[in-house]
Each structure stands twice: as structure tokens, then as C-alpha cells.
Amino acid sequence: QKPIVIKFSHVVAENTPKGQMANKFRDLVAERLKGKVEVEVYPNSQLFGDNKVLEAMLLGDVQMAAPSLSKFSRYTKKLQLYDLPFLFENIDAVDRFQHGPAGQKLLQSVSKKGLIGLGYLHNGMKQLTASKPLRVPEDARGLKFRIMSSDVLAAQFKALGAIPLKKPFSEVFTLLQTKAIDGQENTWSNIYSKKFYEVQPYITESNHGVLDYMVVTSQEFWNGLPADIRAEVKSALDEAIAFGNQVAKEKAKSDKQKIIDSKRCTLIELTPAERAQWVEVMRPVWKKFERQIGKDLIDAAYASNQAK
């Protein structure tokens, strides 16, 4: 009997946390479900880009993917929660929320469209990079920032009086290099791997938001798996995700250090007073999306900042 094939499609290189997580998952499944299930990993958008992979999944041609949470806006508005600025203090708060009941329930928010969230994977906390030093919100006024397609992120930069621009990832480096765009927000690992630190002289360590992924599959595929195999696959995935998250945390640290060591850009650390100003300017964004996301969810997420 032929093994069940899980095509795992993602858009990043194999040495990234996501790439390593996918490969770990492949290896664990090969070890534990030999002959029954086989995972094929397709990195670097070889199979589908993030915009189309979910459609391909619903058609049954891809079984697993891990798009960034902002990419789900066409499927649910609830996940916009993760884009809200200054909602989580740090990545541990994100962890607490995701493992709590509200975070787990949120995995089901895409089920109406035929998808199932299987778990969250970190990339890390986002920092601001720019062609000029950003210490207080006023510094960002009038600057052009590249963002992913997300209403929340657009509102966040508009709150600063800055101009959010949507540009394909492939063009960002050139636009930053030539200063056609003034800045962008991203995690330490993306700033390092995409070499943005080479073309952006200033990085503000703002930790103002989180960039996470959701590992998804289609209900049709998942519910069609024999129960015992499903449980095995899920436990292998959970283990792989835990491993990926560990890699992500270490990578955030080491990539930050590599950026500092490169001496190609200046790191700006905010004083508590300066950070409070950013929070004050950006937090009104929450109110705008309260109806779409749900106030209870926002409260639950905010509460996770208090370690139990």
C-alpha cells in the first residue's frame, strides 16, 4: 500500500526557522510512520506562493503550509489580532496566549472556510528599520514604510502620520537601497537574512508587534486521516513546531548580534519613556478593529503579558 503523502509548501529558505521546522517534521514522520505517511517539503515558493497556497490546499493539491498570520485576512478577520501594535510585551507572552484556551480556540477561526489551524510558529518580535533614526513617534511622521497587505498594519503607520506602502517582497530590497521607501518593519531574522540591515542605517528595537505563522491543513484532508495516524502526525508536528520555535528564539538573538557586529547600522534602544510614547500613539488602533476581532480576544491576549 502506498503511503499517504503530505506536501508541505512554504515560501522561505530551508535554513530559516520555518524551513527547519518543516524538515524536522518530515524527518520525525519518516522515523515514526515509515511506509504509512511521507512528508515532501517544497521550500522557496517552488510549489505555490503564500497568496495561492491556501486555495491549492482547499483543492487538495497541497496538504500543509505555514503562511504568516496576516495572510489569512481573506479567510477570517479574527487573526488580525496578532497584527495589533504593542499587544504582546515579548515572545513569551505570545507563547502564553497561544497555548491558552483563547489562542487554541483561535486556531479554529478558519474552519468556516474549510481549513484547520494545527499550531503557531514564531518568527519573532518586529523591529522598525529606517533611513533616519526613529526615537519618538514624531520621527516617523511623513516617512514611507513598506508593509505586508494588512489593514491593521496600514492603520498602525497612519497613526504615526507615516505613509504605509504595499510592495512585493521581491522589490523591497531595491526600494530600500535606493531610498524610494524610507523604512519597514520586520523581525531580527528577516532583517538579517534579507540583508535589510545593509541598506537601512538605523534599527529601532521597538518589539512593537509579532510576526508569527500558522501551520494549516484542510479539513477534508485532516478529517480523512485514520484517527491513529492523525494523532501520530499531530504529535510529530507539535514536536517539530516546538523545535522550530526554539530555533526562532535562538536565531532572533544570534541574528540581532550579527547585525550589531556588522557595524553597518546603528541600533537604537528605547528608554521606557520613549517606548511609552510609541505605545500611546499606536494603541488607538486597537479600538478600530475591536468589532472585527472581538474585545474579549484582545483582553485575553493583553492579559497574557502577566506571567502566572
Binding site: E40, L47, K52, E55, A56, S170, L175, T178
Partner: protein, 465 residues
């Protein structure tokens, strides 16, 4: 098995004379139906993704549109006059000027056949009149025209950038020095040949002529500044610069030079007209002419021609991506890469294989299609061997240049045959001696990566990275 089936089907379809796009599409879909579990629905989805998710590829229709306006707008004539005024007095100068004209035109246009057509038409006849053998003239231009894809901007480089996610701007920069070098090699060869064949030169027309000719060609030359300036000056990305250049080419052809469109033959300044009234009159006329462009015959023809070529290219590209998708989901590049890696080739030997493969493909296929099929296979292997992606790109582009000169499918050969009215066989013989230069050049490009990498790396250093 799958690989054999896929390529056999593609080959049969192409032999039947089917449009390449349909041949690529059909062989991909049939392979999927026969050998894999993927659904037809996901193929439709992939086809739409190929057409709608590649922002970089948008530069192709934009550059084609801008080239179309320039070619019909008489810009080529002005560029030739300028080139002639600069190097026309050197022995073999008209031929050298023609090469220079090709280089300048290449710096505003992204296509090789367009370069041959725009420059060749005028200069081949001109050279024959000045006492050059016709085969000499035709051979030089057919070769120099290939610079269209080596000197930026270049449609072929954009295709490579899209296929491998290498930065298009860096590719453009990397093509600059090789382009100048190839132009110089051609000029030196011409000078030597002209000495041997005792070909006459033109008298030096003086700096006045250089300035006048330069001024008259200024509108066209500005495009180089606009394209390269806006990319490196922080105004726009390559794709956006292409759109800007299309809009500019339209404006300069219709309102500037007025060789076409609603203002055709309307002078900027009438006799006995004061500057003030001329400005007023022209402003009024341009405002009135703008809506007329919608129904203008010349403008519509340029638009439709550019559309035809763009659709043809983009449709091939979309189907070639489908083809590449089949290759990937069947893990063919993966296996092929493992095979080649297992041969234990050194990078040196691998590049020989790459060149032979591409030269063979260049005999039969159109550059964009070759790149889209070959790049996904060769790129990962090259990365494993530590070859620079930009260097690999330039090697591929030079191979594509040669492909334009080799029968049976060689676009530049067709154009020159059309211009001169001679047979393809005659053109092949005329171009052959110069083709050898190009092969020699390919060897330099392949084994001296610094030629391609110097400028992008130097610019990076200049910026302190």
C-alpha cells in the same frame, strides 16, 4: 519516465508547429494527468498565479511598449547620426559607429531583434553606399544587435530575475561592463578588418556636428538617464522604471519629435513666431492632441503591436512556469541536480556543461522560454557548487545572445534577412565570423566572473556594504 514523457511530448508539439506556449502548456498538463495526483483545478490556479503574482515580469510589456514608441518615432535615426559624428572619421568608422548606435539603442531598449531592426535598416544601406561589402555590414549589425539583451535594460535578465528571485537591479548592473566590453571587442575587430580590407573613412565633421547631433538625439538619450537614473537614483524599482520609460517614450515620440501621432509634422516653432506665442500655441495643441491619441491611427498601431508581442511573450512565460511547476512537483530538477552533483563535477566543468546545454537549446528555442525551463534546473546545482547567481545569470544571457544568431531559430538572423532581402543562409555566413568573437567572449565571461561581478560589488562597496 516522467521526464522522458514530458520532454517527448513537448518536442512533438513543437515539431507540429504549435505555438510554443500551447506546446509547453499541453505537455505539462498531460504529464500531470498521466503521472501525478495533482488536479486540473490546481493547474488552472497555477496558471493564474503565474500570470498575476510576478510583479517583476510586468517590466516586459512596459519595455516592449517603450521600444515600440522609440522604433517608430525616428529616435533610431537620430542616435545613428550622433554615433556617426563621434567615431565616423576613424577607419571602418561607419561600422564602428553602427556598433555604437546599437549599444546606445540597447541602453534604451530591452530586446535584441528590435535593436537590429531599428539600427540595421538605416546603417546597413549606409555602409554599402560608403563602399563596405554588404555581408560585412550585415554581419556586424546582426551581432551587435544582440547587445540589446546584455546592456541594461534587458527583457531576458528580467525573466532570469523572476525565475530565480535574483535582484533585477543587480543583474542590470552586472550586464553593463560585459556589454561595453563586447561592443569594444567588436569595434577593435572591425578596425583590424577595415585596415586589412582598406575600407574608407568619413571626414571628421567637427565638434559642432557632435553637439548638434547630440542635441537632436537628446530626447532619446534621456531615456537612458530616466531608466537607469530612476532605478539607481531612488525613484523607482526596475518594473516601475519600465512603466515610466513607456510613458516617456510615448511623450517624446508623439509630442517631442512628432514623427507620429496627432501632431505629426506640426513644427515647434513657426517662421516669424515669437517664443511666447510658440509656447502658448504648443501648450494648447498638446492639450488638444492628448485626447486625440485615443483614436489616433499611429498611436493605436504602436499599442496593438506592443500588445501582440507582450501577450505572446507573457503567455509563453506563464506556460513555461507551468512546465517548471511540473518539473518541480515531480522533483525532476532535484534528481537531476543529485545526478550532476554525483558526477562530482568541478564548478569549472559544470560551467562547460551549462554552456553546451544552453547553446544547444539556443538553436531551437526563444530565450525567455529557455531561461524559464533551464534556470530552475541549473540554478540550485550552481548554488551548491558555489557559483555566484549573478554570474550564472550573465553566462545565461550571453548564451541567449549567441542563440539569437544560430539557425534554425535565430531571431536576429530573421530580421537581417528581412532588411537585406537575402536568404537566411547568406545571413548565417555573413554573421559567422563575428559569431566566433562572441563565442570567445562567452569563454571570458564564463571563466572571469569579475567581469560581471565587478560593478555590482563595487557599487555595493561604494555604498559601504
Amino acid at each position: 519516465m516522467t521526464t522522458v514523457g514530458l520532454f517527448a511530448l513537448l518536442f512533438i508539439c513543437m515539431l507540429l508547429g504549435m505555438p510554443i506556449a500551447l506546446a509547453l502548456g499541453l505537455s505539462s498538463i498531460t504529464t500531470i494527468l498521466l503521472f501525478s495526483n495533482d488536479s486540473l483545478a490546481s493547474i488552472a490556479l497555477k496558471l493564474f498565479e503565474s500570470l498575476s503574482e510576478h510583479y517583476t515580469l510586468l517590466a516586459i510589456p512596459f519595455f516592449i511598449l517603450s521600444s515600440a514608441f522609440l522604433s517608430t518615432g525616428g529616435v533610431a535615426k537620430r542616435i545613428i547620426r550622433f554615433a556617426l559624428s563621434v567615431v565616423g572619421h576613424i577607419r571602418g568608422g561607419i561600422a564602428m559607429a553602427s556598433v555604437m548606435a546599437c549599444m546606445i539603442f540597447a541602453a534604451v531598449s530591452g530586446s535584441s531583434p528590435a535593436t537590429v531592426a531599428a539600427i540595421g535598416t538605416i546603417v546597413i544601406t549606409g555602409m554599402v553606399r560608403a563602399g563596405y561589402p554588404e555581408s560585412f555590414a550585415a554581419g556586424v549589425i546582426t551581432n551587435a544587435g544582440t547587445l540589446g539583451i546584455l546592456i541594461p535594460p534587458s527583457i531576458v535578465m528580467l525573466v532570469y530575475a523572476a525565475a530565480t528571485e535574483v535582484s533585477a537591479a543587480r543583474m542590470f548592473m552586472a550586464g553593463f561592463i560585459p556589454g561595453l566590453m563586447m561592443g569594444l571587442i567588436l569595434m577593435v575587430a572591425i578596425y583590424i578588418a577595415a585596415r586589412i580590407k582598406k575600407i574608407p573613412s568619413q571626414p571628421w565633421a567637427g565638434f559642432r556636428e557632435v553637439f548638434i547631433a547630440g542635441g537632436s538625439a537628446f530626447g532619446g538619450l534621456m531615456l537612458i538617464i530616466i531608466v537607469l537614473g530612476s532605478i539607481y537614483g531612488g525613484v523607482a524599482s526596475p518594473t516601475e522604471a519600465a512603466a515610466v520609460s513607456a510613458v516617456y517614450a510615448f511623450a517624446i515620440a508623439v509630442f517631442g519629435y512628432r514623427d507620429m501621432g496627432p501632431l505629426k509634422n506640426v513644427p515647434w516653432r513657426l517662421e516669424s513666431e515669437s517664443v511666447g506665442t510658440a509656447i502658448l500655441r504648443n501648450t494648447g495643441q498638446i492639450i488638444k492632441a492628448l485626447p486625440k491619441c485615443v483614436t489616433d491611427k499611429d498611436v493605436n498601431k504602436v499599442l496593438l503591436d506592443a500588445s501582440k508581442v507582450s501577450i505572446m511573450l507573457l503567455f509563453i512565460i506563464a506556460n513555461a512556469m507551468l512546465f517548471a511547476h511540473v518539473l518541480t512537483s515531480e522533483r525532476i530538477p532535484h534528481h537531476l541536480a543529485e545526478l550532476i552533483v554525483s558526477w562530482g563535477l568541478s564548478p569549472w566543468m559544470f560551467l562547460v556543461v551549462v554552456n553546451l546545454l544552453l547553446l544547444a537549446a539556443g538553436n531551437f528555442m526563444e530565450p525567455s522560454a529557455i531561461l524559464l525551463i533551464m534556470a530552475p534546473i541549473l540554478f540550485p546545482i550552481a548554488m551548491k557548487l558555489g557559483i555566484d547567481p549573478i554570474h550564472l545569470g550573465i553566462i545565461m544571457v550571453v548564451n541567449m545572445e549567441i542563440g539569437m544568431l544560430t539557425p534554425p531559430v535565430g531571431l536576429n538572423l530573421f530580421v537581417t534577412a528581412g532588411i537585406t532581402g537575402h536568404s537566411i543562409g547568406w545571413v548565417i555566413r555573413a554573421a559567422a565570423p563575428w559569431l566566433i568573437l562572441l563565442l570567445f567572449f562567452l569563454i571570458i565571461i564564463t571563466y572571469v566572473p569579475q567581469v560581471s561581478l565587478f560593478l555590482p560589488e563595487f557599487l555595493d562597496k561604494l555604498h559601504g556594504y
